[in-house]
Amino acid sequence: MLTQTTLITRIMIAVAILLVVCGFCLMTGTEKISPGNILKGPGSVPGSNIEYEIFIGVRLPRVLLAALVGAALAGSGVILQAILRNPLADPFILGISSGAGLGAVIAIIAGFTFTFLGGSPITVCAFAGALTTVWIVWAIGRFTTKSELTSLLLAGVVVNAFFSALIMFLTSIAKSEQMQATVFWLMGNISETSLPVIIVNFVIVLAGLAVLWSICLELNLLSFGESQAQNLGVDPTRIKLIAFTASAIITAVAVSLSGLVGFVGLIVPHAIRLVLGPDHRQLLPISAIIGAAFLVLADTIARTIVAPAQLPVGVITAMTGGPFFLILLARYTRKISWFSK
């Protein structure tokens, strides 16, 4: 049984892991930097302390962005697996990826140059596309049949297919440099973004995760089906609405800032569930923190392994996360529940 003390202890351990990973990754890169020089500050003349400039202008935003995206995708994965009662669910299952992708491709091909609240046109259009798609899928799911979960999943598949076709169409008529930008974005790419934009989005993701954490007891009950949960005092419609809205917003934030980083939202929740159990009161915060640490580490590998070139982080998440997950799977195979019976 999960107790409050156990949960607090485990969260503190997870936070310690995240801080160690962030500290290591902040110091790792093609340019060597030392903590002493960073602590000296910017210096009297701009550019006099290059190490400080790199740390504040490049490394810190990038590490924060990776942490933000990792936490959002892992947290969203936990929620969608719980609500859809489907272990194969990930943050992109309801078509949010193709919606964001379509938004981003339109921004690239149209050559938009505006900014909104500090966000680039690609970020803004991807965010709008992601949220619009979730709304369309939700509306279709509610409208079509009584079996809401199945129709939501099917609506997600259909909308995904349709928008993917539109992305392919637009990509095929795009200029070569536009096509390259699109492909790179679709592969998932954590690139430098301004610190204020990241901080604003960090607050949104943290608020979203806090809202989701507040309904985790209800998510435990919903694992037994909506009517059983209702008998235990849960309003299933209200909880599903909160869960879908909050997870859609944090996923949209992550996708609009980083493109489609796969694997984190699917595998991190599974790995944590294997090791610590399915209680969502624990699964959500620990998955978000470990998801953040995992993506920070993956992004550091992506930006250093073939330096000065950079790999899309999605390649690293799949290549490192896959084998790691298989090791966990083999070790905890007796504890697995969702493949049995």
Partner: protein, 266 residues
């Protein structure tokens, strides 16, 4: 005093009428068995009483208040509902599953207090499920799982217990154990129990009354003596048989055309 009042309830799935003009009053602290052939509307009735389905017309009151006026949380403190088993998507343990019954009572950050855990342990002991408290639900047999869900309903500590064929996966010993437990809860704690059972003989030994639903939407309410009449059973189930008594207990033996004692029923 009536704890459940069903007033002229009608319910249909699409064009199929399931319940028609059903009136029912259940006294507080009574034990009612609900029986009838498949499709007669037994489960539908319990779903309506649990607030999971809304009748097309008519009304349901719990403790003299319309069921629709209860919040989800308030209703969860009044009614516990055990259904035919359902295994969740993720691997919760027996103990975690039973502890979920305390959800309607949890305060603050939603963690069980020592009092809640004591109630959970009591329910586990009462249903003989404490021995596998740390095991996952999927590691249990159907009967063991069913006992876990009965334990959860006990831990929910509601005045009304609804049970939809809770004995369907249980062996004879555990059927009797659960009936004994339910009877104890009725007599000692004053709980009101509504239970669907296909084994009307065992149910009749424990319940105060039987509600017999028929496929042609006729309803019969009474004691076992009033219900166990061969002509009534024949009318409702389409089965002939022999009604008798053993001491105070009434029983009915269904006899098909090729049964050894078919001639008894004529």
């Amino acid at each position: 005093m009536a704890i459940i009042e069903v007033t002229n309830v009608n319910f249909s799935y699409d064009q199929a009428h399931i319940l028609e003009n059903l009136w029912l009053t259940v006294a507080s602290g009574s034990f009612l068995a609900v029986a009838g052939p498949n499709g007669a509307g037994k489960s539908t009735l319990l779903y309506i009483l649990a607030g999971l389905l809304k009748p097309a017309s008519g009304s349901v009151s719990i403790e003299s208040k319309p069921i629709g006026s209860y919040s989800f949380m308030d209703l969860a403190r009044k009614i516990a509902f055990v259904r035919q088993e359902f295994v969740p998507a993720f691997g919760f343990t027996v103990e975690e599953t039973v502890a979920m019954a305390r959800a309607p009572y949890l305060q603050g950050f939603g963690f069980e207090t020592p009092d809640d855990l004591a109630i959970v342990n009591e329910a586990l002991e009462a249903t003989e499920t404490a021995q596998f408290a740390k095991r996952h639900l999927y590691q249990l047999s159907g009967g063991e799982r069913q006992r876990v869900f009965v334990a959860r309903a006990l831990a929910q500590q509601t005045p009304i217990l609804l049970l939809d064929e809770p004995m369907s996966f249980l062996d004879l010993k555990h059927q009797v154990d659960i009936y004994d437990l339910l009877k104890k809860m009725q007599t000692r704690l004053g709980k009101t129990i509504l239970l669907i059972s296909h084994d009307i003989n065992v149910a009749a030994q424990y319940c105060d009354n039987i509600l017999l639903l028929s496929a042609d939407r006729k309803y019969h309410f009474g004691t076992a003596e009033e219900i166990f009449r061969p002509e009534l059973i024949k009318e409702v189930f389409g089965v002939s048989g022999y009604a008798g008594s053993l001491g105070k207990e009434r029983f009915f033996i269904p006899l098909g055309k090729f049964a050894k004692d078919a001639e008894i029923s004529g």
